[in-house]
Symmetry: C2
Subunit: 429 residues, 2 copies
Amino acid sequence: MSEPLKIAIAGLGTVGTGTVKLIQENLGLLTLRTGRAISIVAVSARSKKNRDFDMSDITWYDDAVTMAAESDADVVMELIGGSEGIAKEVVETAIAKGRHVITANKALLAHHGAELARKAEEAGVALAYEAAVAGGIPVIKGIREGLAANSFDLVYGILNGTCNFILSNMRETGRDFEEVLFEAQELGYAEAEPSFDVDGIDASHKLSLLASLAFGSEVDFDSVYIEGIRAISSLDIAYADELGYRIKLLGIARKTQDGIDQRVHPCMVPAEQPIALVEGVLNAVVCKGNHVGTSVFEGAGAGGGPTASAVVADLVDIARGTILPTFGIPAAKLEKAVSQPVETREGSYYLRLTVEDRPGVIADIAAILKREKISVKSLLQHESNPGKAVPLVITTQETVELAMIRALESISGLDCVLEKPNMIRIVSL
Amino acid sequence: MSEPLKIAIAGLGTVGTGTVKLIQENLGLLTLRTGRAISIVAVSARSKKNRDFDMSDITWYDDAVTMAAESDADVVMELIGGSEGIAKEVVETAIAKGRHVITANKALLAHHGAELARKAEEAGVALAYEAAVAGGIPVIKGIREGLAANSFDLVYGILNGTCNFILSNMRETGRDFEEVLFEAQELGYAEAEPSFDVDGIDASHKLSLLASLAFGSEVDFDSVYIEGIRAISSLDIAYADELGYRIKLLGIARKTQDGIDQRVHPCMVPAEQPIALVEGVLNAVVCKGNHVGTSVFEGAGAGGGPTASAVVADLVDIARGTILPTFGIPAAKLEKAVSQPVETREGSYYLRLTVEDRPGVIADIAAILKREKISVKSLLQHESNPGKAVPLVITTQETVELAMIRALESISGLDCVLEKPNMIRIVSL
């Protein structure tokens, strides 16, 4: 048996602690599967408090960057998080010192993925990030290797468990966003500062990595169109149900002749589609390859155990000698992404208006839609309350988003429209 | 760039032809992803008829074994099928000559997997078989690498698309097995000789490979308990619906303290469970790991394109230099499987009897169940037809299968029981 593989871990939060526990618990199995002994030689974290694992053979570093530079680790795990600062320094230092890097940090790779991939390749080390997308689900490996025979034109998924939990719970209980968010925070499914999750940023980080990997393009986070779930009300959820849809926050990346379309926004998905049935904190990723057709990966998208499973899967690869280009092809060959603007989307739309209940309202709205050549598919008004505010729901036939945006602007300007309209894209993938 | 990777293909049926087409269509992409040129140098098939791909640079062999021995291929693809005979000779010859082997042949590996894995390892070549289980779904890689951090105690799935199509179609149309089988044959979803599929043998081949890989044991096909779907009637499908279940042919492998339980049989699965919603020719595999929890892989389980996708995924691995032990650990370390007999199962059961409608029938049956300490959960008798045959359906609480088998024997012997009872296991995973 060759030399033990020596590991340094930066960050001992949920994921870091889960990783240490997994390695300690499954050590014999990991050695059997990789043919190598594995040894945690160094750790670093914000505070040197008592941890509930044995630290006696592990060197403590107050500073993670010093650890990345000076420990004798073969592999540095960056489990700190954040797109800049210490996490980035740890990764850069480890690469510069010729150490393999495993990271769970989607923000870092979304912002600096192409550049870090180049550096890792030049240094001849792995930059592995299975844990950065969809937690324990082995979707990076699935696309980079398992489906590597295919060219892809579509990858999409439920990439944020917090949002999926909130939307599932709103549907089950009929409650509104704020109330369910509060419960999610109590349960530990949402952060005290929830905006990375509920505003769609976390899902967008992950989507940009999937797009790079699937399409062979440089990570292009800045081009992702992002809309979170704060505007979804219990009314929207109820109308979706009535119309045969479920509302899901999807990340969708599509390669067309004109470029790459990356978007994260709430979608109305036909209720019988498999992705509509993925509930609670689960994640799912769907890929469409030119020979395999549609493949689905589903499982736990977050949490200490599942994320550690992905971190250690990368470790197993390294221990077995599987060192592949970060995004599946040599970094120098990644194409500059040409972004396709969201306005070019063709699809159907759901529109919920709050209007004053008086004669002529529907005629005014219909006239605007006609001007933009938008055909109405269904129109729902359940209540009548003359002179007062009532909800009016319209779904459209397929139209170009630009026309929809113009129509929305005009509709918002009508006197009879009392609140900002809520528009949700209807998506059938 | 290094030397081109030279390939010889044995068998040009649906999968072989699909593989040639995929390689020719995606050649540039494959070279980009692997960093190596790939070249098909030789093919062999039963007849040298005109193929709809360019054969000008490819050497034809009448005999696949001669090709495995004498061509200068680095990789031999065995896409012939069958557990013995020429397929086995091709694989053994290629390995003996130091060539990597890629096969889609579950029967061969189910019967000779451990032995062939040892030979491949001794020769230092790959014996890769992603295409042998669940077609295009990268589940072998998923378990061997993507979830390699975990110890597993359960892997199960819908492993035969023909059976899943038949059961889905029976439910949708209310028709009986024979009629739907005929349609499946017309559609090309079932073979003219359907018994490998409908009697559960194909699914059992695949299950035995998944079990070996997940549990680190030698392939033990002979221990799989096998029951096909011929006995499922439209009545059973209708009762399942009424009781809130779907009938699926599942392969289930479980590792317990006592050994490994491998079984393929029709199951009544709660209708809201994800596996119950996998319909038509789709396949799905579910793994339960000790850190990742439950992971699901779903997609196309058969067909030229999807299976070729898996064959070429193995080729990409080899081109990239990823050569791993066939069943995830060195062949010499695979444990002898200790099989756990099906009679030890604890679970609930569905029982459909055809009884004479007369007083005392239920009392007689209930007495037998009482003797075997089996509690009834529900009892359905919808028709009354004094003196004539009526269906009587019983579901039980959890009980040991041995008790159920004894009870069934006694019940079958009752005068009032007019046909062989149909028993289906209720499974909640």
